[in-house]
């Protein structure tokens, strides 16, 4: 079919409205020239310009023209349709126009902001307006279909962001499925001793929330589990979760930990992940005493039973008979209407900056390791000690390791200055050591943050402005023997210094989770260059994604501290609640449809639809599109050899005329 031959609707009356967007567009495009050309386009009855079309008075101009009967379809030349298409469609609907008799010409993002020459920008604007007019002539009135929203929510990640979102939703009476891949919830916050700038105890404020999650009747908590399948769309997602076997029956285990005592390994022998390798654990363990759920886990990689058989003293000692070596992986399926991703971050691998000697010198630590050292529940009981067990007399904290560095990450990780100050305070408090902070810039925006910095200055912490060149054990003077020497330029004094210390702390930055790319594919969202999940709009939709019904909370969207993560989690929960409370979603009517008279029943479309939305009407032997399943990609339309399939809002004739419009007025 060649729809180029079709005649457009002769009675169409198009209103064209060119937006100045302040000087955003008007500064680069001769608005009046575009209005003049628009007036001459076939079908155009009204062409106007206004400073801000998206403002109320701007929308009213359109509404009045509709009410007066001057126009029955609208072209607005302004910003991206991804920005304001809903605004103008809404304005039309309010004036009893059909919101789909509308097309936007993107002359801001695609023209005025990216074009140097004013004349060329004006030419390009004319072409885009002409294309939109040519296309809107073939628009048909459409109605949105409504589908109900399932009130259940899936939250992925049980760190502070996931926990806060889960409790907010559950307290509002919604059913929450919280999935965490570690054996316990709590995330990074559970590893910290104190939180800046208030120095309140991290566990004291976190563990009550963890217990509340476990106890909440509206929350189903799946730890040691992964989301393995996501299907469906906003309001109607189908989720598959894999529950990995922990070889301990969660419902039976009372958390007495007798099994751990009874293990044939009398002492911990394997890397303790929770203590970032600073301690050893047994094959059967709980990550930490307040783990939630407080249920032991058996690691099959290290358990003797799985390797060489064992008499299973752990199972014998368990009065509840909770240990089950036959446990198998289980897949559960749930239906939810919205999803909150709170998958968090990982810390930068300090060994990537070889000159700081991490992994080479035993007394070079990462900040996360020192968090565990200062933690009363950590491997040293809160003692800050060197590898040889002695207290350090001097400690250097190097800022911006893996942040603000063209060799690793260009961005600022936002939290490191503040946690370095916190660690400086705690280390000084515990050891009375001399503490040196080496920083590029001190970044302390936040409530009470700058005041905390002031306090540290008064506490006698040393601050040296300069990026550290290297950490070395090469002594040049007797003072430097047996020490780690920091070489750095003190940029405030203007000279190179060598400072010998006993312990070095690397303030590692935040990075996206290593599997962020797999996760975003599963949930059909985007990532920034650095791997952070991409929000719908950096300012105005910071917790939404381009996929409706999928929201973001916490550091998976970018570096964030605890207050910011909690605030964002609350915002994500509010967005999800809003969706649930409306009770339905309106689907964009850009679905495919079949024109029976052209369909030969060849089934080409049926085979290529990824959503199985097309079936065959056996009586007529023609294809039928199921509008509820069709997601509106248009792949079948492009494949139909006879042009029988068309896509609403993207019909062949609309696109052909858009092409023609774009070429005719260049």
């Amino acid at each position: 079919m060649s729809s180029l031959d079709n005649k457009h609707n002769g009675s169409a009356r198009v209103g064209v409205y060119i937006c100045h967007c302040g000087i955003n567009i008007a500064g680069k495009v001769h608005i009046q020239d575009v209005v003049d050309i628009a007036k001459k386009l076939p079908g155009v009855t009204v062409a106007k310009e206004y400073k801000f079309m998206c403002s109320d008075p701007g929308q009213e101009i359109i509404q009045e023209d509709i009410k007066k009967g001057l126009i029955d379809r609208v072209v607005v030349a302004s910003c991206s349709p991804l920005m304001h298409e809903p605004t103008f469609r809404g304005a039309m609907a309010k004036a009893d126009g059909n919101p789909f008799m509308f097309q936007m010409a993107n002359i801001r993002e695609h023209v005025s902001w990216v074009t140097k020459d004013k004349g060329l920008a004006t030419d390009k604007s004319k072409a885009l307006v002409a294309a939109a007019v040519a296309r809107v002539m073939f628009h048909q009135p459409l109605t949105k279909t409504q589908v109900p929203v399932n009130p259940n929510v899936l939250i992925v990640g049980g760190g502070i962001a996931g926990i806060h979102a889960a409790l907010t939703m559950a307290n509002a009476g919604k059913k929450v499925y919280l999935v965490e891949r570690e054996p316990t919830i709590g995330g990074h916050m559970a590893k910290f001793d104190k939180t800046f700038p208030t120095l309140d105890c991290s566990a004291c404020i976190l563990t009550p929330k963890m217990s509340a999650v476990r106890a909440h009747p509206n929350i189903t908590l799946w730890t040691y589990s992964d989301v393995v399948g996501v299907d469906g769309f906003v309001g109607n997602f189908k989720i598959k979760v894999k529950l990995r076997p922990r070889y301990v029956i969660e419902e039976e285990c009372v958390g007495c930990l007798e099994c751990i005592e009874a293990c044939i390994f009398k002492h911990g022998k394997f890397k303790d992940e929770f203590n970032v390798g600073l301690a050893k654990r047994k094959p059967i363990y709980v990550p930490f005493p307040q783990a939630t759920p407080l249920v032991a886990v058996i690691d099959p990689e290290t358990c003797a039973y799985f390797r060489a058989k064992c008499k299973k003293p752990c199972a014998d000692v368990c009065e509840k008979k909770a240990i089950d070596f036959n446990q198998k992986e289980e897949i559960v399926e749930v239906d939810v209407g919205s999803i909150i991703l709170a998958t968090g971050f990982k810390t930068f691998d300090a060994s990537r900056v070889a000159r700081y000697g991490y992994g080479k010198y035993p007394n070079v630590y990462t900040s996360l390791e020192v968090e565990r050292l200062v933690n009363a529940a950590g491997p040293t009981g809160g003692e800050v000690v060197l590898a040889n067990g002695k207290k350090p007399k001097s400690v250097a904290i190097i800022h911006c390791v893996g942040s603000r560095d063209a060799n690793s990450n260009k961005y600022c990780s936002k939290v490191c200055c503040m946690y370095s100050l916190k660690l400086a305070h705690l280390v000084k408090e515990r050891t009375e050591a001399d503490v040196y902070n080496f920083y590029i810039d001190m970044r302390t925006p936040g409530k009470g943050y700058e005041e905390f910095y002031e306090r540290l200055l008064l506490e006698g912490i040393n601050f040296i402005r300069g990026r550290v060149a290297e950490v070395t054990d090469w002594a040049m003077t007797p003072d430097e023997e047996e020490k780690l020497v920091i070489r750095a330029e003190d940029t405030l004094v203007g000279k190179v210094r060598r400072i010998p210390v006993d312990m070095v702390v690397l303030a590692v930055g935040m990075e996206a989770q290593p599997d962020a790319d797999d996760v975003r594919r599963m949930f059909n969202i985007s990532c920034s260059h650095e791997g952070w999940f991409l929000e719908r709009h950096p300012k105005l939709a910071p917790v939404s994604t381009l996929t409706d019904g999928v929201f973001l909370a916490g550091a998976c969207q970018g570096p964030k501290d605890i207050p910011d993560s909690v605030a964002q989690a609350g915002a994500a929960a509010a967005e999800a609640l809003a969706l649930i409370d409306i009770g339905h979603v309106e689907l964009e009517p850009n679905t495919a449809f079949v024109r029976d008279e052209f369909c030969s029943g060849c089934r080409t479309c049926m085979n290529i639809c990824p959503f199985s939305a097309i079936a065959i009407d056996t009586e007529k032997d023609t294809a039928v599109v199921n509008g509820a399943l069709c997601k509106g990609c248009g792949t079948c339309v492009a494949a139909c050899p006879s042009g029988a399939l068309q896509q609403n809002l993207f019909t062949d004739e609309q696109i052909f005329h858009e092409i023609e419009g774009v070429m005719n007025y260049v």
Partner: protein, 167 residues
């Protein structure tokens, strides 16, 4: 803008760009928000998915006077609709064979995977393509094939040739 039939230094290529809504169109918006200046020669037609790209659209653009066509979709594995970009790739591969048979240089029709975060890639690809097509000069499709007024046959033949292999 200059007359496309006049080859030489003042020749300004005309490029029609078909961008998918979710990745490449969003990337072009990002390029705008970040004020990445690039050649004004490409005009974007938005489609929901690169899988919607009917090869006839490319032929229609060339016939209507475009000197080049750019198609932008999500990276393999990233399609918002699971696999529309793979369909686009298969159709594109066959379309190129057809275009070669029509005497149209390979560089005039280009397929690029551009993710929503890759505003800089939109800038680079449009600049590159504009220069490439500028070097090739105007397409002058009518003069090559004398198909003015009989677009029906060219588009139709193209579509069927492509569809048979692509699906």
């Amino acid at each position: 803008m200059s007359d496309k039939n006049v080859a030489g230094s003042d020749f300004e290529p005309r490029i029609v760009a078909f961008f998918c809504n979710w990745c490449t169109y969003t990337a072009a918006d990002l390029a705008g928000t970040a004020r990445m200046v690039y050649a004004p020669n490409a005009r974007v037609v938005r489609i929901m998915c690169s899988g919607r790209l009917d090869p006839q659209f490319v032929l229609a653009a060339l016939r209507k006077g475009a000197d080049g066509v750019l198609i932008g979709g999500c990276h393999p594995g990233d399609c918002h609709y699971q696999e529309g970009n793979y369909k686009a790739l298969r159709r594109f591969t066959l379309l190129k064979t057809l275009l070669a048979a029509m005497g149209i240089e390979e560089e005039r029709v280009r397929l690029e995977w551009i993710a929503a975060s890759e505003g800089d890639k939109v800038q680079r690809v449009i600049n590159e393509m504009t220069e490439q097509v500028r070097k090739l000069g105007p397409l002058r499709l009518e003069q090559i094939h004398q198909i003015e007024g009989s677009h029906h046959s060219a588009a139709q033949v193209g579509k069927h040739a492509v569809m048979e292999g692509a699906v």
